[in-house]
Amino acid sequence: MPDHPLDPSLPQEHLQHDSFYHHFLSVETPHPMQGITEYLKKIILGFNTAEFAGLKQQILLLSERYEQINPSELKALSAEIQSQLNSVEYQCHTNAAEFEALKQQILSLSEQYEQIDWSELKTLSAEIQSQLNSLEHQFHDPAYLTELMVPCITEILNRRIQNSKTEVIQALLPIIDELVRLKAQQNRQQMSQAIATLIPLAIQHQIQTSPKEMAQAIAPEMGAAIQEQIRLDQDEIIKALAPTMGKAIQEQIILERDAMVDALYPVIGSTITRYLAEALREINQKIETALSIQGIQRKIRAKMQGVSEAELILLEAIHSKVQAVLLIHKASGLLITEIQQEGEYRLDSDMLAGMLTAIRSFVNDCVTNHQEIRELNEIEYGDARILIEVAGYCYLAVIMQGEPHQQFIHKIRKTLSNIIQQHSQLIQNFDGNQENIPVDVKQQLQPLILKEQPPQKRQIPILLILLVLFLLGLIFVPWQMAEARRRENHQAEMKARAALTTEPELALYPVNVDAAQANQTLTLSGKVPSQRLRQQVETILQQTLPSWNLDNNIIAVQVPANPEQVEAEVKQMTAALNQMNGISISTEYNSPKVRLQGTVIQSEEIENVIQAFEKIKGVESVQSQLTLQPFPIATRIYFNLNSAEIIERDFDEKIRLISQYLKKYPQLRVKLIGYKDRREIGLYQNIGLKRSQAVQTALESYGIDRRRIEVNQATGIPPGVTPNQRQWLNRTVMIEIIHDNSNS
C-alpha cells in the first residue's frame, strides 16, 4: 500500500512530481476547480497507462478519504471522474467539445461540493494535473503513441470482441464496404482471387437460404449469357438443350397449347393448309376418276399388264418430262447441286437459281404479311412449270413439262427430306464451294428425272384368271343348281296334277299343286267341298309322290248345296244303282240326310251304296236300312250217280225259280260249276261239265238267254263239303252269280 499521497509527511518527491497536486497547490486560481479544469485541459491529450493508473488510484484514495463527508455523492463523483478518465484511456484523441463536456460536468459537480475540503482536493487535483501533464506530452507524440498502442491493439480488440462483439461490429460496419471497394480498385486480381474460392459456396448457401433471390439476381442476364455461350461455342448449348427439347415441347403443349400453336403456326400453318388443300384435291380427283370409265379402264389395264395403277397414271402423263432439278441454297441463292436432262438445251442453272431466290424473297417480303410465312410453290409458264419445294435452308426447283401428278410431288418431297436428314449441316453452311457437297446428294436427285419407263415384263396374270373363273363359277354353279331344282319341281307338279286328274270329282274343283316353295314339298291349294275330298287329294298324291312332303293348304269349303239339286242327284244315283245287279234300293232325301232302304245281294254292296250317296255334294249323312238279300233260290242242283240228267222234281223247284230270279234281274249272269263224285271216273270224267250244260239247257228252256250262263266244271270237292260226307253231295252243279263290278 503506497503512502497516502496527501499525507504531508510524505517525501516531497511525490508532490513535486509534476502532478496534479502540485499544480493544484501552486496555481493561484480564484476557484480551485478552475485550476483543475485548466490543468485537465492542458494534459488531457496525453496519458500514460501507468500514470493513469496512479492517477486513478489517487482519486480512489481521495474518494475513500471523503467518503465520510458525503460517501455516496463522493462515490458518485469519483465514479464519474473514473469513468471519464476510463474513456479517455481508450481514446486516441479527443476534441475540445468532449473536453468541454467533461469540464462542464466537473463544474457542476464542483458546485455541489463546495463544502468539500478544497485544500485536500486541491492537492489531489494538483497531483492529478501533474500526472496528466506528463501524459499530455506523451500523448502528443504520435510515434510514441503508436508504439504504445501497437502491442495493445490486438489485445484491446480481442478483449473488446470477447466482451462485446456487436459494438465492435457496429464500429467497423461503416467502413467495410469502402475497404473492399478500394482494395478492388487497387488490385482487382488479388481481390477476386481472394474472394473466388468463396463464391461457389456462397452461392450454394444463398440458394439454400433464399433461392428466389438467386434466381432473380441472375435472371435478367440469363439471356445474354446464353447468347454469349452460343457465340463462343454453339454446340455446347445445342448438346445441353437437345436431350430435353422434345420433352420440353411436350410439357409446353400440356401447359399452354395455344402458345405452342401460335409459335409453330407461321411455319406449319401454311404448310398444313397447302397439304390439306392438295389432299382434298387428290381425294376429289380420286372420287371423280374412281368410277369414271377412264379409271376403270385404267384399273383393268393395270391388272392386265401386271403393273401398278400408279405407274400407269404416271405414264399416262406422257408429255410429262423433267428437264432439270436444282438444289438451291435458300439464303444466298447459290446452286448447291443440279441434274439436267441430257442433250438438247442446257439451262443456265446458276442464273436461274439466283433469280428464283430473288423472286422468292421478294414475294415473301412484299406479298405476304409478316405474321405468316408463305412460300412460292410453283411458277407456270406455257406448258412448262417450275415446282418449288422449300425446306429450312435449301429448296428444290424442278423444271418440267406437263402435269405433275401427286405421286411425283411425293417423290420430290421424300427426296428432299432424305437429303436434308443426311446433309443438313453441310447445306446450312454451304459457302458456294460445290466440291464440299458429297456426290450422294446429286445421286439422290437422279430418280427425279422422269424418263419413259419401259413397261415391265408382262407377267401371266394367273391370279387374275383364277379370280375370273372363280367369279364365274360362283355365278354359274348356283344358277345351274337352281335350274335343276326348278325342273324337278316342275316334274313333280306335273305328276301330281296328272294323278289328280284321275279323280273325276276334282274336275269340278281344281286343286293347285305348287312345288316351288320348300325342298321336296308340294303345296296344295284350292277349294273342295268336303273334308273327305281334301283328304282324298292328299292320299292320292302321297301315293304318286311318296318321297315328297305335302303341305295341304286345300280348304274344305262347305258349299251349301241347293236342296232340289241334291234331291235330283239322289234320285239319279238311286236309279243308277238299281240298275246294277243285285241292288234294289229306294231312297228318301230329307235335307241333308238320305235314308236308304232296300236290298242288296252282297254285303260289300251295302258299303258301296252308302259311299255312293255320301259322295253326293250336299249329302251330309246317309242312314242305311239296307238289308242283305242272298240268292233267293237254291244254288245247287244234285244228280244221280253217273248221270247228267236233271231230276224232274228239280225242274220245277229249282230251275223254274232260278229262271224267275234271273228274269227279275235281267242284268245278272250266272256261272255253273259242275262237280263229280269221286267214283265217277273214266267215261264219266267230264260229267261235271255235262251236268252244267244240262242245267244251262234247262234254264234256256225256261227262257233265259244262253249267253247269260257260263258253264264250267271243277275237280275236287265242292265248297262247304267235307270228304267224309255222303258222296251224293259231290254230284252237284253250283250256281253262282257273276258280279258285274261296273258300278263305280
Partner: protein, 172 residues
Amino acid sequence: MIYKKICLIGDFAVGKTSLVRRFVDRQFSDQYLSTIGVKISRKKINLSSPETDNPQVMQLMIWDIEGQTRFKDIAPSYLQGSSGAVIVADLTRQDTINHLPQHIDLFLSINPQGVIVIAFNKTDLVKYESILQRFQNNKSFKQEQVTLVYQTSAKTGIYVDEMFNHLAQNLI
C-alpha cells in the same frame, strides 16, 4: 467450281448497276434506269493463288440491289448468304457518302463475316482536290472488314475490274 454471292449496296443513282454492267458486260450507258428489286448478274473470275499452281475459277453471282429507300425492308433478305459486298457512294453527292456507315452496318448485321469493299464512284465528275477532302472527312468506317476503298468510275472503267477482282480474291 466455286460460287460466291456478292451484293452491291448503296443509295439510289450512285452507279451500282453501271459498275456491274461495266464489269460484266463491258459497257456503259448514261441513261438512268432505276433497278427494281434486284438484278442478278454472273461473272467468271480466274483467281490466281500464289500458293497453289492451279488457277481456280470462281463464278461470281452479283446481286445488284436497288437503292430506293422505300424498299429498305426487302434488302436484308437479298443480302443473306453474301460472302462480300461492294458499297457504293457517289462522290458528287455528300449524303450518299454519309449513308455509307448505315449500309455497312446493315450488311454486317446479316453477314458478320462478310468482306466489304467501298467504291466512291463517279470520280470522272469530280476534281482531284475535293476527292481528297471528302476522303479525309470520312474515316469513320475504319472497320476490320472493310478491306479497301476504291475510287471508281463506271464511265471510264477506272479501278472497276481491280475492285471486283480484289473482292473476289478475298472471298475465299
